[in-house]
Amino acid sequence: MPLTETATDRIIGIAEMAVSSAGGERLVTYALGSCLGVCVHDPVAGVGGLLHVMLPSSEIDPQKAQRNPCMFVDTGVPELFRAAYRAGAQKERLVVKVVGGAATADGEQPDSFQVGKRNVLTLRKLLWKNGVILRAEDVGGQRLSRSVFLQVATGEVLVKTNGRESTL
């Protein structure tokens, strides 16, 4: 399917997530810089999910995390998994891929908070502690803006990065 918005695309915004079992649907999120796009797919149940998450830890604002868990990796990723399970996915079948976590620094402005790196590290720790190994990743880099397209029917993940397209 070409990487242009179609009638079957469901767009996920920043600090949002969606889970779908509609085979003709594609879950899409744009402009992942330091944010992460976390994709899950159960090929047997035909369930796909995509989370666009901003910050690593809900410790900095637990009340905000209560209102919107999708803002933080440590609350948003468990929420994504739970939603996938409610849709019929099973943990041992889930294929998990991640995109994003770029540094925002350029030559003049340092990436002082290293949010991208912290997001990736927090995700890795969470997955390790919960017994999940990533199947693929496209993370890091400097000043990259990535968009992700998850095909619910097949689990195929396409990534568009600064004009280049690749399959994850």
């Binding site: 890795r124 390790w128 999940v132 190994i133």
Partner: protein, 127 residues
């Protein structure tokens, strides 16, 4: 396909990390054995069927290089696939280990790196 794996490292924590990764990799593990040095590993190999051994280099009593030399010199152990898991940074030593038919995982590793190397060494397709 049944799979018997031996993990050889003088660090119990490192052995636990590797074993956890193997269990999470979706492999048909039958038995997982552990050894804290090369001598202990040879004793295990003499009495148990092992398909794959993950081997550290820097260990007391008998190090990983010595262990691999002994394994490769023993025709009965010809079927044991070997993966070195080490901080070793010397290209000379790494190439020498690869020349003995060992693959290499560099510490620090991610679980994903261990999984993909193990699948490749065992010839298992990544489904």
């Amino acid at each position: 396909m049944a799979l018997n794996v031996l993990v050889v490292d003088d660090s119990a924590v490192m052995r636990s990390m590797l074993i956890r990764t193997l269990r999470l990799s979706g492999l048909p593990l039958t038995n997982v054995y552990q050894a804290g040095d090369g001598a202990e590993a040879l004793t295990l190999l003499a009495s148990h069927d092992v398909d794959l051994a993950l081997v550290d280099i820097n260990m007391p009593v008998m190090n990983g290089e010595q262990l691999i030399q002994r394994v490769r010199a023993d025709a009965r152990l010809a079927g044991v696939a070997l993966i070195v898991v080490s901080t070793e940074g010397s290209e000379t030593r790494i190439e020498a280990l690869k020349a003995r038919g060992a693959s290499f995982i560099h510490k620090p590793f991610t679980p994903e790196q261990v999984r993909s190397t193990v699948l490749r060494v065992l010839g298992v397709a990544d489904a």
